[in-house]
Every structure is written in C-alpha cells, then in structure tokens.
Symmetry: C3
Subunit: 448 residues, 3 copies
C-alpha cells in the first residue's frame, strides 16, 4: 500500500462515523479534520440569512435517538449507526404501539437488509430508519421512542482554498460534506478533492488557478454562489463537481456542463473521438445529479461538469447503509485522483498559443530546428544533428502555422494526428527560442 | 353536419358564381359577402398607381359574352360558366368562320371535357374557352362572337383585419380572391381564412397579433406590400399563405418560407422530427406557388410560408372547370381549419421563457412543487400532496434551467422528450408562483 | 502543334539550361527571357537586408566546377549538367583519394542512374552530385576537385505584373524560378503562368485584378510578402501557387488554402460536389508544398491554394536529373493552362449579385421575359416570343429571388440545379434591363 493510499484510508476512517447534516457540528468537525491535510478556510453564513430564493436554516443539534421495547431493550440507537434517525428530526419522547410506531419508521422493502438515509430539512417531523428485516422482526407491544434534538440559531459552514497559477482564470473543484455515514456517496468526493489538491500543489508550472470548495450539497453550493458567484462568473474557466468516485469496477465518467463551451466538455469529447479515450460522457440534465445543477443554473451557467465513477442512484448502496468502504474501495479513489489529475494537466496544455514570428516561416535553421542541407540522404529528418526525426519538425511546422491565438491543441490535432501531450516537447523547444508564447486560455490576436 | 360546416357550405355557394378577376366588381362583391362573417376592411388603390415595378391596371367590366351559330343558337355563354371568356378580354362583335373562330378558342386537348381558365391581364386580346369535346362538335359555318366588356379607371381592392394579442408581433394569414368559379384553387383559401379568424377570435389568451389579408393574387400582394410592407418588415413574426386547402384524401402540407429563421418553418420541422407529425414539407422556391413568392422577395424576405392540401398544379381540376365543390369537399376545409389552428396554438406556446429566480434552483418546496421529505417511498414523486408524479417535476426543473430567454420549447424538448403542448400545465404552475415569465417571441436577457 | 504549344516548347528550351539558384545571374536571365513573353517588372532586395526572420544571402557566382582523375580526364563538369555541383558550394581546388572524394559526393542509391539536386544555401560546404552508377564505376586513385565559385554582395530578384480588372480585388498567381535544370519541378510553373497571363489579358470583360508573381521559392515569397504583404492582406480575393504542372497522365489537383473562406476552395469543392468535376483536392498542410506555405503563414493567412498535376515528391524525377521535358510533356502544360483558365472564369462569374427591383417580383412581362398569356398551351414556356423554354424563366426567378448580395451562384445552384456557367445568359438578360447588378466579390446590402 502506497503512502498516499494509507493516508486516504486513515482519513476515511476518521470521517466516516461523524453525524453530518447540512448544518452543525458534524460539518465543522469534518472541515477541521480536512484542514490537517489541506489549507482550507472555513466560513459561515448565519441562520435566517436569505440566499437567493432560500433561507439559511437553523442548525440541527442531535444528542441522542433510540427506540426501546417495553422491557427497556434497545431496538436501534444512533450511537450504532447515525442513519437510524431521520435527519433534522424534531425531539420526541413517547410510548407507542407497534402500529403507531410504524407510521414513523422508514425502510426499503425491496432491499430488506438496508437501513435507508432519510432527510426532512424543511418540514417539521420526526422519524427513524431501520432495515425491513429488522422491522418485520418486531413483536406487537409498546415502544419507547426518544429523540433528544434541537434546532438552534447558528450558521451554515463551508470551506475553500485557492491554489494560484500563472493565469487568473480558475478551475473549480467542488464537493460536498453533508451526509452522515456513507462512503461512496459522501466521503469519496472530499477525499479525492483533498488528495488532488496535494498533487496540483506540487506541479512545477501551474498555468491555471484552482479553487477547491467543500460545501453542504444544494443549499451549500447555492450559498457559495451567493457569496462568490460574481467572482466565479468573471474568472471561471472550467470546473467539475466530484461525487461518488469509488467503485473498483466502474469507469470514471463525466457529466457535461450545461454551458457547451466548457473546456472540459470539449477536451473530453476530443479525447474520446480522437484518442480512443473512451470515458463515458453523460449529457447535462437539471433533473438528477449534484451541485453542478446549481453552478449550471441559468443565472450563472458556469462551465462546471461533474466527475463520478459509481454514479449516484445506480448502485445498491445509494442513500442507505450498504454504502460502505468495502463497496467503495480506497484504491478506486486513488484511480480517480490519477485520472482527474491527468485530465487537468491536459486541460492546461490545451490552450491557445501565439507564433511570435508569424510572417512566413521562421528561419528554423538558425535555431538548429531544421536540416542545413537538402539532399536525398537527409530527407525525412528534422535536423541533421539535434532532433531525432521528421516527426518533430512536423509538429513544429504545425504549431507555428496554427498558433494564431484561435486554434488550441485539440484544433491542431485535427490537422496533424498526434496526441495532445505529444506536443509538449515541441512547444518547449519553440518557447526556448522565443518563437512561441502560451498557453493562453482565451482567444488572442497575433502581434502586429 | 356541424354548424360550422353548414356555414362554410353556404358561404361557398354564395361565392362560387361570382365573376372575379384581379380588379372590379367581382372582388368587391366577394369582400362584401366575407364581411358578413368577419370584420375585414376593404381598401383600394387607384388605376395607374405605380406599385414598385408594377402599375395598377384598369378595372375590367364584363357584361356579356357569348358565341352563337348562324341560326342564332347559343354555343357558349358566360351566364352558364364564367370561365368561358378569357379574363380581361377586349370587347368584340364579329362574324367568323369556324377556322377563324378557332384562333380565339382555348381548350385542353388532353382533358377534352374541361373548360380551361385563361387570363390575359396585361396584353390586349380577346378569346373564349370551351371544352375540346365541345369544340370538336362544332360544324362548319359562321359564328357570331360577342363580348361586351370595358376597361375603366377604377381601383384594385383588397381587405384585411388585425386581431390583436398581448404581443405586437404579428402572424400573417394571407389568401387570394381573384379567380372566377373555382373551388379548390380559389374559394378554399378565403373560406378557411374566415373560419380560422373566428376560431382565433375566441381564444381566451391570445399572445400574438394576427393579420388576415385577402388580396388578388400577385399584383394584390405586391400592392399590399407597397402599402404595408414596411410595417410587416418591422412586426412580422411568422405567417402563411393559404391556398388549395381542399381535397379529402390529401394531407395538409407546408411550403417553407425563404427566410430559414421563420418560427413556423422551425416548428413544423421540429414536430416532424420529434413528434412524428409527418406533415409533408416542401422547400421554398420562387418558381411556383402563390403570394409567398412576393412576401419572400429579397427586398422583404418575410417569414411567410404556405399551407396547401390539394396542391396547385397537381390535380386534374387545376385552372379549369373540373375544380368543383365536390372535388374539393367542404369537410376537407374544416380539417384544414383544425390543423392550422392547432399549429398556430403550438406556435404561441413555443416562445422563449424567463426564469425569474435564475440563481440556483428556486426552493420549490416553498411553492408546494417539491417533496418535503427525501425518503425511498417518496422517490420518483414530484411532491407528496399535490402533483401526481415525477414527470411534472422533471418538466419544472427543465423549464427553470433552460428558461434563460435563449431556448424556446422546441430547444427544451431536445433535452427532455415531451411534446410541446405537454409543458403547458407546468408553465402555468410556474407562472402562478412568479417563477416564470413568458412566452416571448424574441430572445431575451435574464434579469440581473 | 498549335502556335501556343510551339511557343511553350521553345520557351522551355531556352530556360532549361540556365544555372539558377535562389539568387544571381540565373534568376535574372530567366526573368529577362520571360519578359519577352509577358510584361513583368524585375525588382531586387540587397544582400544583408532583414526580411522578417530571414536575411537576404549573398549571391552565389558559379563559374566552373568539375572533377578530373589523375590522368586529367574529366569525370563530371557542370557544363554538361548543372546539377553536378551542390548549389551554393564554396570554392575548392584539391587533390583527394577516392575515399576522401566520396565524403563530398551525393547520389541516390535507390535510383542509381539519377543525379540528385542538392542545395546548401545557409551552411558553408562544398560538394558534387552524380549518379550512383557513375560513382560505383570510379577506380581507386587521386582525383582533382575544382569549384570556381564566389559569394558576393548582390540582391535577391523577383518579378511581377498586375493585370487590372473592374474590381480592385486581386487574384494572385505565384510561381518560382530558382531551380537549375528541372522540367516539372521548375519550368512547368513559370511557363503555365506566362501563357495563362496571355489568356487572361485577352478576356473582354475582366471583373477581377490578377497579379502574377515569379519568385525564388521560400525566401523569395517571404521577401515578396515583406514588400507587398500588407497590400495583399488588404486586396487579395483568392490565389494559387503554380508548381509541378506537367505529367500527361496526371489530373490537375488543388491543395486548399489554410483560410477556409477562400473562394477557390469553395468553388472547387462546390464543383466536385455538385457538378461531378472530380478534381482531386488536397487539404492544406504546412508540412509539404511550395510557397503557399508562406502565403498561408498565420501572420498573413492569405486565401492562396496551390495547383499541381504531377505532384512534388510523388514521381521518380523529383529533385534529380530524371525531371526532363519528355517526362513532363509540353502538352500537359497546355492542359493546365486550359483548366486553370476555366476555373478563374467560373470564379469571376461566381460572385454576389444584387436584384435592383427587390420588392416583389419585377413585372417581367414589361421586359419580354414572361409569357403575356396564362393558358394551357403556353404553360411551361418562358415567354411566347423570345426565350426558348421555361428553363430560362426558372433561372431568372431564382436569380432575382436570391440576388440579395448574400448568395453567390454556388449558393443559388443549391436551390436550382444548374451549372454555374449556365446562368451566364440569364444574368446578361437581367443586367440588360437594369434588373440585376454584379458580380461583386464581397457580401452587399440590397438598395433600400
């Protein structure tokens, strides 16, 4: 097991048991643990604040929740599994018959061994969750239900950090921290985000600026947009929400952003079409998904897609107690880090370039980038003493001809069929001789 | 027989016998009868007026026209069939041999029982029309030809009416009133237009403004453009010429306007591609057709297509005496009214909408448009007490996400495959809560 | 043999023996001979002048070059074949062993009978070229190598002429004059250019202006761009480089310009798609080719493609002594002149036109362009006394409808399937009656 894998595993174990909700101590504790790994700043917005069409709710404080039978035997207790109480339940202390109790119990009849995850943030009610098997086993009799919870004025918390690059254009990586004990559907995102941050931090030459954001889902991203939406509208180049990134057998897939000009949309489609990359691509939809639905709301329409491996709603453990570390697998998270890092690297390379000597071909021989004799023996070589073959000269001529600030590397790869990353050496050679400038992340005009 | 059908039938019988031409009493009488059904205003432009490259001709007055044999027996008389005289014939009163007579007789040799419809508006000549069979039966001898006609200073008449809607953008419905006794090729258009007007008049919520125009073909529409072209250029949203709308066995078809951005072009193509509508679509051509050729001339390029059922030139009765009520069928006219009304209704619905809370998703729960609990039993439902299923929530989320003033319902239907009319209920629900505004008939910006 | 063919043949024989290089007396002598055929002006740029990233080199003066064996017998001598010396060789006068000599001999081992053409413009070296067979036959012994050459301050020469047309928009025809004795790869271009000039000079109605340019390849076109690039950027409508236009069995082919809006690109693609023209089209590439690579460099991006028949690099004689008049064939050059002239003629016809009476259809009857009666017998005719059939009326109606300054003839041919040249008669008829204006070579607005 690599060090990275060990650290991911240990982070998982620390975060899993925490009773998280969209507000409260669980979110703050999660952020504090993450701060040991990456330098995120926590911020908060007070209960009652209006954020667009929403209002920050009270914090939910949950101290105790259990059901006991008439003999005082514990049936369920959130100290065993924090899914057992309906998230945001009101306090209760009552004796009920089995029939009355059942009115407040949630199960998944078609998955009788699973305890569902149930929330009721905005409507006052109380309830418990257990497996159907467990419920079926309960005998007639009286039951004591007890929830010691409270809703108090507090705040909604989120955390973020900006990793600066040469360009002020930003790439958003956003994930959520609001579900209690779930592996794939909760912890895969923050763990991948944290370790991805540490990879990008070590890049020697970071062209773009990266913004990592950890928010409670939906109301958290809406609140983040309320605070930073204007800045994002101005600076965002591309981005992705990270969710459900586990699943050893599953391929990483990409949900496109609503904004079709998103560089990540275009890059991934290019890789699929030209480089046999075969990443499953899902169309944008506002119907299902995660916070990309908020980032892509029409008032913002940010170029934010979504990465997912074991996609929400498509596996047995979705929103229930079967969503465990074993099902998810830490190795799968590492795979996700690797693949997303590679795509972000390609995205940086895939900018617009400017030929600094655009009038006719530059005299490449001066820079030792062209053969100094045209004879049959040398034909097909790039230079007669430095570069190894005609391939690089082809790349150089293609780069010079199309580096007019209007073609990025994917455009260029349509005329000369190399992979994007194959151009890196030739780009460096041209930049070394002040023949090329870039990458840039918007179209440019050539110098006059 | 429905009341509407009876009224159409009776209107037909009143209009059929009238001796119409591009000018004169026939046009005015036709308009006066139509005025009993719809509130059109008649206007006139005086003989000699220059309208673009044309000049308003003199009115043709025709009082009598017949051929008799040397025994005084009548061979033909326009009192029997007003096609018997060449339209716009000069007066004549002559005795001719059969051979001389034949120089002035028009027939259709390959349809020996039909009397052709012949016109010579702009060149002075006289002539008669009869069936080939009839002509072949005439014995040698002398014949008396008599036409009592006159060309006098007068005017060219047309009529129109505007049915206002919430938007000042207009839909043009144009048809012609200049042929003598023909059913499909003359009366189908005005009758459908008149009854369509009465349908639209009764719409409770008319979004667009409708302009109904009755003109003599070609020179009439050119004259109308001369008077109202500037207004149309400014206000016209879409439109269609109505012609040849009879034919029980024939499908209604649409000839596209030259202007490819015409909303009707796009709507009908969309319905064909997405909703299996299967309306035959004919490309625009300036070579054949009716007044859409004038509305689509390059100086105007108005978004005006053409509806037709039994298309001109494609049936035995085209421009001859076989074009009768029986061949056309009044029921077919009613079908045309129904189908065109439906398309106009869909066109109104298919506007651009504006999400009035575009920053993040609105908190739909506040409006009772979202389930107030997220639990397995409720998944797949829109709300837990009002709307019946997830389908409407899907429509609502799609409407909100794409209602940015740049996507109309056909665009939106490309992402969520409902029929245009299926969105009507969800649109109403969102408008009721001030979450949506529209339809609008040009692209809009979101509110800031 | 036609006169034209005889003249081409004689021009070839005069130009072939000249020792050309990128500078010097050979280029000037070539230009002086061409001046007897066409009125080109010679210009020069002095040695040492910086042109963009390049510098004008010294002139290479070559007086004598040979190898003799130790008995004084001549092995090779440039007086027999001017390819025998490496172009731009330094002077030398040495006795060498066979092994030492071989270090300076270039051959083509896989074509043992061919003498290669070798250049070393920018690196000081000396060398000889001979066939592999010849080299293999040399016995051991000492050899006397002698090159009497010099590099002197002088100039780089080129020549050009402008043939004015009604429009100031220009078509560039560019070819090169810098290779010594090669037929297809050197002389085919200048000979075709010269005779094409004389064809265009005789056109009675020249719409566009034509610029014929004769330059040394690469550095010559870069120098020309240095002097005239700004003018070309402003005035150039389209153009082509002429190279390798011989080869009886080969089809003329077209290499597209980088600039996709080039009228020649669009015309040739249209002809291929619509008129079964079947001209092979090669995509633009900066990797191989001739001076179009310079004209299409991103700082200029001129709409300049390239015509070629027996394409460079694709035949046995490429850059060696097998490139002879017999292989090339003078008849093939005449074919190239014919085909390029036809394309240039079509390019002129294929402009934008303006309907001068765009509001409704003009009253074509006034101009005798429409039948003056609408009767069964006349249907399908254009007019009843002048034009021969409905075909011309169709063309006229199509021209009038689409001549809005936004559709050229290729656009129009998409709606009515005639060949571009078939419209010529109808265009003339409409222009005669002041109904049409054009062709124009950029989009226009209709008159108001």
């Amino acid at each position: 097991m690599s060090n990275e894998l060990k650290e991911m595993d240990s982070l998982f174990d620390r975060l899993f048991p925490i009773m998280r909700s969209i507000t409260g101590e669980g979110v703050r504790e999660t952020i504090r643990i993450l701060q040991e790994y990456i330098p995120i700043n926590m911020e908060g917005v007070a209960t009652g604040t209006e954020v667009f069409d929403w209002e920050i709710p009270k914090e939910w404080v949950i101290r105790e929740a259990w059901i006991k039978d008439e003999y005082g035997h514990e049936i369920i207790n959130i100290s065993d599994l924090n899914l057992h109480v309906v998230n945001y339940s009101e306090p209760v202390d009552l004796w009920l018959s089995l029939d009355e109790l059942k009115q407040h119990i949630h199960t998944i009849p078609r998955k009788p061994e699973a305890v569902p995850y149930v929330i009721s943030y905005y409507k006052e009610r109380w309830g418990f969750c257990m497996s159907q098997n467990h419920l079926d086993s309960l005998p007639e009799g009286n039951y004591h239900v007890y929830i010691d919870s409270e809703k108090i004025d507090g705040e909604l918390n989120y955390a973020h950090v900006v990793l600066p690059g040469k360009s002020k254009k930003e790439v958003l990586i956003s994930t959520y921290i609001c579900h209690p004990s779930m592996a794939n559907n909760e912890l895969s995102g923050p763990i991948v985000a944290a370790f991805l941050y540490n990879r990008l931090k070590n890049w020697t030459n970071r062209e773009l600026t990266y913004r990592f954001v950890f928010v409670p889902e939906t109301i958290g991203s809406i609140t983040y947009l309320y605070k930073y939406g204007k800045h994002l509208k101005e600076h965002l180049y591309s981005g992705a929400v990270l969710t459900c990134l586990g699943g050893k057998e599953h391929q990483l897939s990409y949900k496109m952003s609503r904004n079709e000009n998103s560089p990540l949309n275009q890059l991934i489609q290019f890789l699929n079409q030209r480089e046999d990359y075969n990443m499953p691509v899902r169309p944008f939809t506002p119907l299902y998904g995660s916070d990309e639905r908020q980032y892509c709301s029409p008032g913002f329409n940010l170029p934010v897609g979504q990465f997912s491996k074991m996609v929400y709603g498509k596996y047995a453990g979705y929103h229930n107690s079967l969503d465990t570390k074993e099902v998810m697998s830490i190795e799968a998270l590492l795979d996700s880090v690797n693949e997303i890092e590679r795509l972000l690297k390609l995205q940086e390379l895939n900018g617009f370039y400017i030929n600094l000597k655009p009038f006719g071909e530059p005299k490449l021989g001066k820079y030792d980038l062209y053969p100094d004799i045209n004879a049959p023996a040398e034909r097909g070589r790039s230079t007669n003493n430095k570069l190894d073959n005609r391939q690089q000269l082809n790349q150089i001529l293609t780069l010079l001809n199309y580096s007019d600030g209007k073609h990025n590397l994917t455009d260029l790869s349509k005329t000369l069929n190399y992979k994007i990353e194959d151009y890196e050496v030739s780009i460096e050679a041209l930049k070394e001789h002040q023949l090329l400038d870039g990458p840039f992340y918007e179209e440019r005009e050539l110098l006059k």
